[in-house]
């Protein structure tokens, strides 16, 4: 199968044939955006200082370092996803307000994000977490930094990336949610296993 590479700005029709479980890549711009930035937009109603229409966000707090001899220029050292579920509370509204098309993070997201992805056409994808050097190696340069008052992990760092991935699609635009499907199976096996385990644990007699 041909390698699927999305380019920003992403259009609704680019996402139509992509299904949960597919592997895709991203070329263009992606902005790190996590807990406090979501809260500021949704709860504090502060306009996001980055235009995300057709864009991509990364639930991530990177390690960056200043580039010596260049004022206000930074290099991406290590960047990888953080737990996406922390942003679940805000994500549907976030998709609606920003027009973001690609959300990259770690683990699954819930019902609100599923609805947001279906209604407003967006994807949630997993980048293999803990692989921060693989991700940083796809970053050509950091082109923008906003809300730096939030400190290194929470600043909105916008990077220019080439074939950033692998991105495993966890929620598609058709209402499919890979992790929610998998969780049903996991819980069934867990209950069965517990019955077996319990047979060997009668230590209190």
């Amino acid at each position: 199968m041909a390698k699927v590479v999305l380019h920003t700005p992403i259009k609704d029709e680019d996402l139509e044939n992509i299904k949960a479980g597919d592997i895709i890549y991203l070329t263009g711009h992606i902005t790190t955006c996590r807990d406090v930035a979501h809260r500021r937009l949704i709860e504090e109603k502060r306009p996001l200082p980055v235009d995300l229409k057709g864009g991509a966000i990364f639930h991530a707090g990177p390690i960056v370092r200043p580039i010596k001899g260049q004022k206000d220029k930074y290099e991406m050292v290590s960047v990888g996803p953080t737990t996406s579920m922390r942003m679940e509370k805000f994500e549907k509204e976030f998709i609606k307000q920003t027009g973001v098309k690609l959300i990259v993070g770690k683990g699954g997201m819930g019902k609100g994000t599923m609805e947001g992805c279906q209604q407003y056409k967006a994807l949630h994808c997993v980048f293999p977490a803990g692989c921060a050097v693989v991700a940083a190696a796809t970053v050509e340069k950091i082109v923008d930094a906003q809300w730096m008052d939030l400190g290194m992990p929470e600043t909105l760092w916008t990077s220019k990336v080439t074939e950033f991935g692998p991105l495993i699609v966890s929620i598609d635009t058709h209402g499919n949610n890979l992790f929610e499907q998998y969780k049903v199976g996991y819980n069934k096996i867990k209950d069965k296993e517990l019955v077996e385990i319990d047979k060997h644990l009668s230590f209190i007699k």
């Binding site: 770690k106 969780k183 819980n187």
Partner: protein, 299 residues
């Protein structure tokens, strides 16, 4: 060497060791990941293990932290009463973290609570955290370093069960956490379980359990059998790397325990992610040191 020079020397070694442990996995974790990757049969899981391996190679080559979340530093210190820097260790560890944060570099992971601002230095009130054990008539200082990342900190939970719930209750407590939070915590996980009386005793044991090497066993035969039962049970769930299905879920389950109050079973669970950045270094009284977790380490 006067005391000031001794402090400077140990600070320098610890700063380098902390930085090193952010870039290179301990030998036991490396070996276990290789073993799990070799026996994996599912294509998505195989791709993920390959990405893990590529990341570790790149981290070493490019000399960068292998995960961007370099955690809040935690130190488990077992120090002899005759170790010459007993009174200086805690302060110098904080200094070492500050230095490592700039030199490695590490992420700034200390947000002052209530005032809610990032200190920008990776240290703050009570961070790094130092847990102490004092050993009488001994002149060594034995230190475990651990980078507690956010993702693998989130599943942490402790509670006190009624004895009627028994060890079956302990098993359910651990297993439930695996399918709710565990799959987001970067499996294959190392699972630490504490069994004691109250939440704080169980919780500390569950974290200490993560310092034990993968493949080691609790000396109590029943506890060891429960480690195996849980390991097999969680593996059967098939979380796979990233929770995206696979033949394994964990690198191991380590249980640590103490005696308990007759009316209570305190239980806690803590997990380490696949990128389990644990280090172990032992100083003698002359500040010569041995690193047990990373055979190839050169500081």
């Amino acid at each position: 060497m006067d005391k000031q020079a001794q402090v400077a020397k140990m600070t320098d070694i610890m700063a380098k060791f902390v930085g090193y442990s952010s870039k290179v996995l301990p030998d036991d974790v490396k070996a276990k990941l290789q073993e799990l990757a070799a026996k994996e049969t599912q294509p998505m899981a195989k791709l993920l293990y390959e990405t893990y391996a590529r990341n570790m190679k790149l981290a070493k080559e490019l000399d960068r932290p292998s995960c961007q979340d370099t955690g809040v530093l935690q130190f488990f210190v077992k120090c002899g009463t005759d170790f010459p820097l007993l009174g200086e260790v805690e302060k110098l560890l904080k200094e070492a973290v500050k230095i490592a944060t700039v030199n490695t570099p590490l992420r700034h992971n200390s947000v002052e609570t209530f005032d809610e601002y990032n200190t920008g230095t990776n240290v703050g009130k009570g961070t790094p955290t130092v847990f102490w054990e004092i050993v009488p008539d001994n002149d060594q200082c034995d230190i475990y370093t651990y980078m507690a990342g956010g993702g693998c900190t989130l599943p942490g939970q402790a509670m006190v069960l009624m004895p009627g719930e028994g060890y079956e209750g302990v098993a359910k407590f651990v297993m439930d956490r695996m399918t709710s939070y565990g799959l987001n915590a970067c499996p294959p996980l190392l699972v630490g379980v504490g069994v004691a009386t109250s939440v704080e005793t169980a919780a500390l044991l569950s974290k200490k359990a993560l310092m034990r090497p993968i493949g080691s066993h609790n000396p109590n035969p029943r506890a060891a059998s429960m480690e195996k039962l849980l390991e097999d049970g969680i593996n059967a769930i098939g979380l796979g790397p990233q929770g995206l299905r696979g033949d394994s879920s964990v690198m191991g389950v380590n249980i640590e325990n103490t005696a308990r109050h007759p009316s209570a079973i305190g239980v806690a669970v803590n997990v380490g992610c696949w990128n389990h950045r644990r280090g172990h270094i032992i100083f003698d009284k002359d500040l010569s040191y041995t690193i047990t977790t990373h055979k190839e380490a050169k500081l």
